[in-house]
Amino acid sequence: MTTGSTSPASLPPQLSGLDPSWSRLVSAVDSEEQSRTWHVLDNGVENPSLTLLCVHGNPTWSYLWRKVLQAAPPGIRVVAVDHLDMGYSDRTGTERRLAQRISDLGAVADALAITGPVVTVAHDWGGPISLGWADLHRDQLAGVVLMNTAVHQPAGSPAPSLIRFARSKAVLSQLCVRTSGFIRGTLRLAKKRLPRPVRAAYRAPYRSAARRRAIGLFVADIPLEETHPSTPALDAVVAAVGEMERTPALLLWGSKDPVFSDLYLRDLIVRLPDAAVHRYDDAGHLVSEDADIVAPLYEWVSHLGTGSLEDPEVPGERPALWAALEARQSSSDAAVVEMVGDQPSRSITFAELAKDVELVGAGLVASGVSKGDRVSLLVPPGIDLTVCLYACWRIGAVAVIADAGLGAKGMTRALKSANPRYLIGVSRAMAAARAMRWPGERISVDAMRSARKRALGVSATLDDVRDRGQGRELPESPASDDIAAVVFTSGATGPAKGVVYRHRQAQAQRDALMNLYGIGSGERLVAAFPPFALYGPAMGITSVVPDMEVTSPGTLQATALAGAVLSVEATMVFASPAALVNVLATREKLAPRMREALLGIRLLMSAGAPVPAALLGAVSGLFPNASLHTPYGMTEVLPVADISLAEVEAVGPGTGVCVGSPVAEAEVAISPLNEDGAATGELTTEPHAVGEICIRAAHAREGYDKLWAVNQAASQPAGWHRSGDVGHFGDAGRLWVEGRLHHIIRTDHGVVTPVGVEHAAETVEGVAKAAVVAVGPVGTQQVVAVLVTDDAPRTATLAGDELADRIRAAVNVPIAAVLTVPSLPVDKRHNSKINRTKIGAWAEEILAGGRVGKL
């Protein structure tokens, strides 16, 4: 393959989505002093404020960038170049390597008179070429955008197997040149099957073996080994990227890419730590075909140079998350107690905990964990989790926390997205990690023999880690601005998202909770709501984990709770509504001594889902001396507001659920809804303005992990968190939540929030539970009530006329259809929030005349 046939550049034929006026042929002299002609797409904007220089990979061509040209805002020039021997550019008959391709790009860019600021945009092997150009044009470079590419083979990982496969001599020519197999294979790497005209357009310039020659050469030019002629050029690119730390960067990534997997994304994030990252869970290698990358791209571009992407500085140093541990390092009080049944099974004192956290921390460092490394913790609440979490925090590692309630599939999705370097877990988690190929070097909390270690691919046990930590110094503490954790949302509304917290934000959360509930050092908490148990040591209080199935809070027995209370003479209980329901149901089994212990509880907190007042009322009989509180908040910021049972009873019913007054540390405002039900209004605290609840607080999340576009949308105006909840301020400054913005129904009469309608429907006799959802297009949606009645049918049916009449009379909005079902789906984690998204999709289908599928 040293020489090939030549043919001149040409203009492409009419192709789907490609405006012929964009196509130009441009001639320039290449590095060998030869005149060459390139085919480029160029929207021809004159005196642009910015130019996007788009560089395709192999085996695509600039057709890849048609949507970027199509959507270009005024004043932005978009240029997409077909590499020589690719697309519709000259077939030179030569063999071009990376260094030459970089200088070719420079030649054509000069011929195109690209002046002024430039953002390079590249995909696949266009990445290194574009970065090579970027390095040589630092004065012009305004930013870099990279999609599913690589500059470096991550240490210890094999080359993408597809590339190795394609590189083998036998395959290379057959796959890439003699047939169009490589092109067809690449087009199949799109997650969704591309429409036929689009597939045809990608293949159009590569119709003969002669025209495909460079596809094989491109693959052969990937320097997989040190002796490869292109290795120095790629090394130079890698070095250049190392100096681009401060260059604005945007990484748009399709996660379902067998070529450039998440490993390559992590490699790039390490090299470009300040990059905005958006990882599309459902997109493949051809991310620009599978996902709308254009909107986030231009959103990001619009912020360039404005500085608005910079973090607002939040001052005020707070004590470190482990400060209370150090303060109590000689205390023999229990820090964490685990229970089996109603008896303590294991406990650790503050003195022991402080020591073990240091030992494990030092051991993790000795095992290779560096500051900023992600460590996934798959350990149920208890002593081991506490030790590992505080050890991670102390050494500056980032704890990745995904609740087992996500289920195996959700967990896999979450962990692949977070992509931790280490995975610490119980032996069951080790087995699951192996079976489901969860990322991260495995460290087992449980002791295991070496045969089992090998079988599960476990590199060390926690005791091995402790051994390694003996006599070693701890590293410097992380700064308050360093990342502390990535916590996954429940996934009740779409795939779980990783929520990023800095140390200062976690510290502020600890302080907000302590302040809100007057928690003092030395108190004792029974934490039947897992997330809360984690902060016990940070607050300097004793935490007890009652015996319960973590993933199903409804299994908490009254005796297990009371036993936990008794074991430390607890002063506080935190539980979910589902747990409290079961505690009430099993209270008959409580021995008098246990009932007595409950008298010592001064504070009972219930959270996770709206808590019906009737439930709290019944609970107060069991805890006569406790004040009952429900905090309102979400994974992204908690607490936002708080309400006591007394207050719930005093305010009475209203539109939605009253969640009380905002906490002192959180600023809460409403972004009113417009005519179409979108929350576009200026923030206000006016009573009765209905809109999205927005929060600003020192204890709010930093952002969403690798979801730059989602994060942008959820952070408007800057510094605020848009909760996705809809509500309003009532009288006396209390906040009312009316449901999810996502579930807002936009009828032609205006906006309907489901929660109030559901409550009204549930007042109808014989109706146990109601879900109110929408069908039809936004703006003319119809409201549908889906009911569970006392005499529930075996399959979904239309309600009789009488029931439909009673429902319509009870609610104040038009209802198109009333359906009855055997049961309503709820989300896994809370086991109490009804899954309106799922019910809505189901109703949409059957009310269009589709089959009555399972709900």
Partner: protein, 324 residues
Amino acid sequence: MRVLVTGGTSLVGSHVARLLKDRGDDVVLFQRGSGPAGYEQRLGDVSDAGAVTAAVAGIDAVVHMAARVGIVGSWAEFEDTNVNGTANLIAASWAEGVSRFVYVSSPSVAHTGESLVGADAGVATPDAVRGHYSKSKAQAELLALEASGPSFPVLALRPHLIWGPGDNQLVGRIVERARQGRLATIGTGMALIDTTYVSNAASAIVAGLDRAPEVEGRALVVSNGEPRPVAELVSRIVRAAGLEPPRLKVPYAVAKAGGRAVERVWDRTERDAEPPMTSFLAEQLATAHWFDQRETRRALQWEPEVSLAAGFENLQEWFAYRSV
């Protein structure tokens, strides 16, 4: 205003005539046989150009709703009444200097088979729609709107499934079949269907006359804007007549296939009556058909006055009164 109403003998036609008369317009009815009393009558067939020219003499505005409906008949027959008839009226009205023209069309001119969920009116597509009726109405709508301009404003209104007391089409057939014990729910009965209470259809047409100059050249679907599952609609109609709703269920595929077979046989035998089930009807009763009403209401500055609930009460009273 002197208004010519064609097809004034139909249920909605008589409502339109009364509404116009009640507000003080001069109403002239044009149809083949004699129409309701109390109006000036001009007799003739819309396909007769001479009769049509005579009918529009001295007329200020036209509501054209005369049409051949159903599935029985040859294309030539549908074309003659619906296409040529509309062409005659448009031509004569234009020549006469009529100041506004409302063509009463059907949502079926723009849609074929697929389920319609909050759909827009869409553009009439005579080559895509099925059946002689829809095709001829689509052609007629296009030619009517083609003629529209500031000096001769034409508006097409497409009411969806008109019903009400005295309706012998939708209500009459459903009740008749229920009486015979031959009424079945097709498919799940859960598809949402838009309907139009007759007096709302009439008030929309009158609003169309008033608004034609501002919104000429457009086609708007008219409905109550209260879609309901088809089984609920049928059940409420049947109950209004004092009967029990159907227990029988027929899967959609069976009804559709059966309908097609019936259509073929009917077509060959050229019977005069409408067949009991057609594939078009099966489709109408088993897939969603409801429309975005926002643009219609904005354009017509109109809201339906009678809700479905009130409409069903009226229907019940009417049945009760009739049985006395």
